[in-house]
């Protein structure tokens, strides 16, 4: 039954494909960091010379922005008919 439902799905959204996409994604992430050995990234200010700077900085700031938006959302979010009432 479950397998049937899986087969009816578009191949791109089957559980198996999604698992493969995650594995491929992690491999790609590792590759971009390892590529730094081949093409050293030249920093301008010191901190951006640290290893994998763009990787950890990009990830860290994005998580911070997601959490920041979530927290602001508690104050700012209203039902979408708020102004029509």
């Amino acid at each position: 039954m479950n397998d049937d439902a899986e087969r009816r799905k578009h191949w791109l959204v089957r559980r198996d494909t999604i698992r493969k996409i995650w594995i491929g994604g992690y491999a790609l992430l590792a590759l971009t960091v390892l590529a730094q050995f081949l093409f050293p990234v030249h920093g301008h200010f010191g901190i951006d010379d640290s290893f994998g700077f763009a990787a950890w900085y990009g990830f860290g700031t994005c998580v911070a922005m997601i959490i920041g938006a979530k927290l602001l959302g508690f104050i700012l979010k209203r039902p979408d008919d708020y102004y029509d009432r």
């Binding site: 992430l29 763009a54 994005c62 938006a69 979530k70 602001l72 102004y83």
Partner: protein
């Protein structure tokens, strides 16, 4: 014909008259030919003033060529052409005519040689764009267009104060580089920034643009904010305040887009975000930064129009615009999905797309000027763009859950318009030299170095990881987010209504009192002399005239004080 140049704005402005009086294939022909003619004329304008004529003691220069004007006018007319193709068989004629008038006015600003001409086209743009929003024909669009017009007419007044002050103060109406050293110039920059979507009035943009039709919003995304970028680039390059204003816009756009549920409002917030990058670049003010801002305006118009065409196609085919109602559309709308993804990659500055070769110049200029904090913030914001627009838009519209909707791709003209802009997004990214040759200053910038590529791939792919890790925190909800427009739409509106209520209560009270007095007088008159009553009837009018005369007198006195 004015002098020896034809104003490039002319064909687009003429479209306002021509499109409504033609129909069928003739109208379609004009819809495509007039922007093409405008694009051709853009390249016929020589550098320097085309013609000067005196007007109330000022030199008016309606057409003046420069390489910055040509760059912006090229992308404006190209946008009108491809936008016209996108809307060819579907948009209402009033909408198309308004959009072309709006585009023509933006081109008019580009070639303006003096501040009076800038102002005239600036106001025409406000009218044209209001009509574009209004042509969507929904009650929401009508209300949004009125709020939009209010902000832009206010912005026009602020700009006019600045321009009049500039002319009175310096005797010059030259549209050229200025330093921020007089109150009049602060008014001017404020007027420009209102149109750029800068704080504190930035809410007009995400409020109004998503209410346009699927076609109107494509045009809206291109002109108002980028014309503001153009005038800031010409008048106030290197004004430090623009760095802070720009950085605010960058993060405002990201945070609000992350909270948003309406797919086209996500993209509207990201216009503020992208214009923030340009404004920051203008504030940095070096040749590299200004080249970056100009190039980014050029590439941004194309990929943002592509994104809004993709979103517009979804809206046109499904009638839905909320992420909570959408999802899984890649299965039946592959062209729309792929073109949307290409636009999303370009806005995220993915290598080999147009955003990569333009935005990186702004960050590079911050590094060259040793603006460490600005550079760090721009890097974080670049990651944030991928987060809020690059992944969020395609993910929630085309993937996420299966909404069960299976609409086909849109009609051929809408698909063709998306193909053209998708091709340009990649073409400009792979072969940037053509665009670099058009920039205001000579550029020796080389975007494709191993170091830069590794940096960008790390930044973007890890921000992608953050998106999927943080996905549970970003569940779509049926909500909107409060913005500064709340002040106008709730407390100020309530205060206004209360004043109106008070005024009408007062009027009713006065009317009652007057009626009582009149009745009393009537009885008195009847009692004393019936013949004089007609003369007395005029009394209340006489009192009103007296009050008005008193107020006018007071006004005149105050005016002279």
């Amino acid at each position: 014909m004015i002098g020896n140049v034809i104003p490039p704005a002319l064909p687009l402005l003429a479209a306002v008259l021509i499109l409504p009086i033609t129909s069928g294939p003739i109208r379609k022909l004009f819809t495509l030919l007039l922007p093409l003619l405008a694009l051709f004329l853009v390249w016929q304008v020589p550098d320097g003033p085309g013609l000067t004529f005196p007007f109330i003691g000022l030199d008016i220069v309606p057409v003046m060529g420069s390489n910055v004007a040509r760059l912006f006018a090229t992308v404006f007319t190209l946008m009108a052409l491809v936008g016209g193709l996108f809307a060819l068989n579907q948009a209402r004629v009033v909408e198309l005519a308004a959009a072309f008038g709006y585009a023509g006015s933006a081109v008019g600003v580009c070639f303006a040689g003096d501040l009076v001409t800038v102002f005239v086209f600036w106001e025409l743009m406000a009218i044209g764009s209001t009509l574009v929003i209004w042509s969507a024909g929904t009650p929401e669009a009508w209300r949004a267009s009125m709020r939009y017009a209010t902000v832009h007419l206010f912005g026009g007044v602020v700009l006019m104060i600045g321009i009049v002050g500039e002319i009175l103060g310096t005797g010059s109406n030259a549209f050229t580089q200025l330093t921020l050293d007089s109150p009049a110039r602060w008014f001017m920059i404020a007027g420009f920034l209102i149109n750029a979507g800068a704080p504190p009035l930035q809410a007009w943009l995400p409020d109004a643009y998503p209410e346009g039709s699927p076609f109107g919003t494509v045009f809206l995304s291109a002109y108002t904010t980028k014309t503001a970028v153009f005038v800031l680039l010409v008048t106030f390059p290197g004004a430090q305040i623009l760095i802070y204003v720009g950085l605010f816009m960058v993060f405002y756009g990201i945070i609000y887009a992350l909270l948003e549920n309406d797919m086209r409002r996500i993209l509207a917030y990201s216009i503020v975000n992208q214009v923030g990058f340009m404004v920051t670049g203008i504030g940095i003010g070096t040749e590299m930064a200004l080249n970056g801002a100009a190039a980014h305006a050029f590439t941004h118009i194309i990929y943002k129009a592509l994104l809004l065409m993709s979103a517009g196609s979804v809206l046109y085919m499904t009638g839905k615009r909320k992420c909570t109602d959408l999802g899984g559309l890649f299965q039946s709308m592959p062209v729309t999905a792929i073109c949307g993804i290409i636009g999303a990659l370009a806005i995220s500055s993915f290598p080999f797309t147009s955003g990569f070769i333009s935005k990186s110049m702004i960050a590079q200029s911050a590094a060259d000027q040793h603006l460490a904090i600005v550079w760090m913030m721009l890097a974080a914001a670049s990651a944030g763009v991928f987060l809020h627009a690059g992944i969020k838009f395609p993910w929630f519209v085309f993937f996420q859950k299966d909404s069960g909707l299976r609409p086909p791709d849109p009609p051929w003209n809408m698909r063709l318009a998306m193909y053209i802009f998708a091709f340009l997004c990649i073409g400009l990214g792979v072969w940037p030299d053509g665009l670099y040759a058009l920039l205001p200053y000579p550029t020796g910038y080389e975007p494709y170095t191993g170091s830069h590529l590794v940096f960008q791939f790390q930044l973007l792919l890890f921000s992608g990881l953050a998106f999927f890790v943080g996905l549970p925190l970003m569940k779509r909800t049926l909500t909107i987010s409060l913005d500064v427009d709340w002040f106008f739409r709730v407390p100020i509106r309530r205060a206004g209504l209360a004043i109106l209520d008070g005024a009408s209560a007062l009027r009713a009270g006065l009317a009652d009192a007057a009626r009582d007095r009149a009745t009393d007088s009537w009885h008195f008159l009847q009692a004393s002399s019936g013949r004089r009553r007609l003369r007395m009837l005029g009394q209340s009018t006489g009192v009103a005239v007296l009050i008005v005369a008193f107020l006018l007198g007071l006004y005149v006195v105050l005016y002279y004080v």
